[in-house]
Amino acid sequence: MNLAVIPVAASVSEWSDSFLERLPLFARDWMTSWLPEPWRWLVNSLLSIAVILSVFGLLFAYVTLAERKILGRIQNRPGPNRTPIPFTKLRFFGLAQPFADGVKSLTKEDVVPRGADHLLHFLAPVVLLAFSILTFAVIPYGRHLVPVELNAGVLYFFAAGAATELAVFMAGWASRNKYSLLAAMRALAQLISYELPLLLAWVPVVLVAGTLSTTEIVAAQSGWQFNVIPHWYVFTPWGAAGFAIFMIAALAESNRSPFDLPEAESELIAGHLTEYSGFKYALFFMAEYFGMIALSGMAITLFLGGWHAPSPYLEFIPSYVWFMGKLSVLLLGFIWIRATFPRLRMDQLTRFAWKFLVPLALINLGNAAFWSLSLHWSGPFQILRWLISVLVVVGPFVLLGRKLSAGVAPRVYRYAV
């Protein structure tokens, strides 16, 4: 069986050695140049850890601010704009708000219930944050910017993400609160249900790219068709469906609206986070946003072509700028979805995952297999290939959707007059 072989060599464009691209490498080499040779790998690793923590820490802070401002504007109010820059009286669009939030959460009293399991209560946010940060190691942020290059990078990412679910359980159980435990069980059920569509959504990508390594998947999406359309997987039918399923499952895995049942105020107070206050709560919050950022980064790597530019004429802009741009677009999409959709109930949530997303993801896998087998069809058959692929995406979606919402849709709205 001869699967189509997609060139996996790193894309060599004339901009890959440009000054801006190699700037991070120059900086790193300059910083480690006065160390003896055996210590360089250690300092390199420590440097990449420090850079990731600082960049994504700052990004987390400003994503929370952006979220509150954008949510506010969508709801026709300005969002936080009163925090002045420290030691001045300048109020500048609330830009110092994240730091005010940080100071608040650091100085709040850390209340732990007397009967709680103190060790586990302490460890839960630590474990959650540790595994969320571990997932950042395999995402290629730029042409030469991968912290760790693993042969099975994608699997490592989702393994570390799966280990974060344990912390949710630890938080719920250690609080010695029936409602926390119940909510933790529900949160776990949500996380496990949506792990299956999440994993099934990227299996077609690995099938077509032929590798589990993140750098090679990005390299497989290089190049442009007719110099206009990039070879990103999102521009194929199965890729678009896979991207949609991945984003929905990513929303659910990071407990974001409309799947934020575990942390909604009207649901068992705060779910598994009820007995957490102050800095530990801030750590949970940080871990949720890190999860969101990491999953967006992985979606960009798998479907949106990683650090590739969308057009060959825009390649002078460095690769890490493109990555950050795509990341910002996805995060803004997350915030927009939060402002728009109502929350899903628990049974609606699990039904959506098991009855709708999993069959669609499995069909998508078959679709991607057909796509890669039909790579060498000639001329007009390519149109047939696209048509079949689009039909296999749209057909089951419409049929399954109609069948599952039979008897409910279309809804009749009655307004009080």
Binding site: N151, A152, A159, A160, A162, F169, W173, E195, V408
Partner: protein, 187 residues
């Protein structure tokens, strides 16, 4: 690299041993999960990246949830777990059984081809191909694992799949004993 192996072995065995001896069942479950991490670290030390990450994904990500749900949904009270043996005879027979199982496992491992080193110092596999020693870079990439699973060991893969499907169906049948009166239709 022996220091790393000793450390990983100590961590794995120590967490498993402590997990066996704790009164609190949830703490035991969590320490067992830590020992599964130790096994994943061992796979990483041996150069098997794919197996290590699959171990974390499956054991820590899924089996741990099953264990915790089972413990939480079936325990009656916190003071319920008794860890002292019922009588001396039971304790002695437990130790003898443990040692016997250990002996059988060790004998099986030593008898297999991984326990025999060919003259070049490289373990010989049944198919005649040899795996390079763990000191050099591992050659078992994910692609080779996939090809092996789909060609040489395809029958084993399919049988395991059937076994898992049977287990899943059995679990569903056992759990669905409460039949039609608990069915709800509205989405």
């Amino acid at each position: 690299m022996t220091a790393a192996l000793v450390l990983i072995a100590v961590v794995t065995l120590a967490t498993a041993a402590v997990a066996l001896s704790l009164r609190n069942l949830i703490h035991s479950a969590l320490l067992l999960i830590a020992s599964w991490f130790g096994i994943a670290a061992f796979y990483l030390w041996a150069g098997a990246e794919f197996v290590a990450f699959a171990q974390v994904l499956v054991y820590v990500g899924a089996v741990s949830m099953v264990v915790l749900f089972a413990v939480l949904l079936t325990r009656r009270s916190r003071a319920d777990t008794v860890i002292a043996p019922d009588s001396l005879a039971r304790a002695i027979s437990a130790v003898i059984t443990g040692v016997a199982v250990f002996g059988v496992l060790v004998a099986a491992i030593l008898k297999s081809s991984l326990g025999r080193l060919s003259p070049a110092g490289v373990p010989a596999l049944p198919g005649g191909t040899s795996v390079s020693p763990v000191i050099s870079a591992p050659t078992a990439t994910v692609r080779e694992i996939g090809i092996q699973l789909m060609s040489t060991h395809a029958a084993a893969l399919i049988i395991i799949g059937i076994l898992l499907t049977v287990a899943l169906l059995g679990a569903v049948i056992l759990a669905a004993q409460d039949g039609p009166e608990s069915k709800q239709e509205s989405p």
